[in-house]
């Protein structure tokens, strides 16, 4: 069974601080995705990383896929209260006909 370990589980920071969320596995994935979920809503896709070592930026968010395609990180620069939410990483197994496997999520709270 492929698992994705996400850390930290909870993060409470002040506006303007930087943070990094990690997603690790012992398995290789064909891609890694990051989602953000707000209360009462479903997860919304932020980014997909496909190539080992790939780095993608989305405004103040930087996503990286590990060289071996087993891990990923999400870095937020100068966090804002609007960044508050649940961040989920999800891995696409290489085997066809399988569903995305989700990490257990990181609940981020940014206070002003």
């Amino acid at each position: 069974t492929q698992l994705l370990e996400q850390s930290p589980q909870f993060l409470s920071i002040q506006e303007g601080e930087n943070l990094t969320v990690y997603c690790n596995s012992s398995s290789v994935f064909s891609s890694l995705q990051w989602y953000r979920q707000e209360p009462g809503e479903g997860p919304v896709l932020l980014v997909t990383v496909v190539t080992g070592g790939e780095v993608k930026k989305l405004k103040r968010l930087t996503f990286q896929f590990g060289d071996a395609r087993k891990d990923s990180s999400l870095h937020i620069t100068a966090a804002q209260p609007g960044d508050t939410g649940l961040y989920l990483c999800a891995g696409a197994p290489r085997q066809a006909g399988t569903a995305l496997i989700f990490g257990k999520g990181t609940t981020l709270s940014v206070s002003s």
């Binding site: 891609s31 009462g40 809503e41 479903g42 997909t48 496909v50 696409a92 006909g97 569903a99 995305l100």
Partner: protein
């Protein structure tokens, strides 16, 4: 305009009852999914259909039965509801390589069994 819509949004019912959750997507996607999110926010795959054909059936009690009348709809029927079934159920859809295109989720159905 809603891409993936689920009904109802909230469902409160007594143990032993039978209930259904409906899901529809207007994105033209060929694959639909049911995920269960527990109280710790962990999302676990339950079922997946591709063009009305069941392709993923995880270890889920027989009381749960998905039905896909066409590729735009995926419903979930639950028999003899138990307290442990309380959770948020999400429907999602994807097109082609889900590893590259990702999922579009509905807003969830919060099921509370009392």
């Amino acid at each position: 305009d809603t891409a993936v819509s689920q009904t109802p949004k909230y469902l409160v019912t007594q143990m032993g009852n039978d209930k259904s959750i409906k899901c529809e997507q207007n994105l033209g996607h060929d694959t639909m999914y049911w995920y269960k999110q527990d109280s710790k926010k962990f999302l676990k795959i339950m079922f997946s259909y591709n063009n009305k054909e069941l392709i993923i059936n995880e270890t889920v009690p027989n009381r749960f039965s998905p039905k896909s009348p066409d590729k735009a709809h995926l419903n979930l029927h639950i028999n003899s509801l138990e307290l442990g079934d309380s959770a948020v159920y999400f429907c999602a859809s994807s097109q082609g390589d889900r590893g590259k295109t990702g999922y579009t989720f509905g807003s969830g159905t919060r099921l509370t069994v009392v």
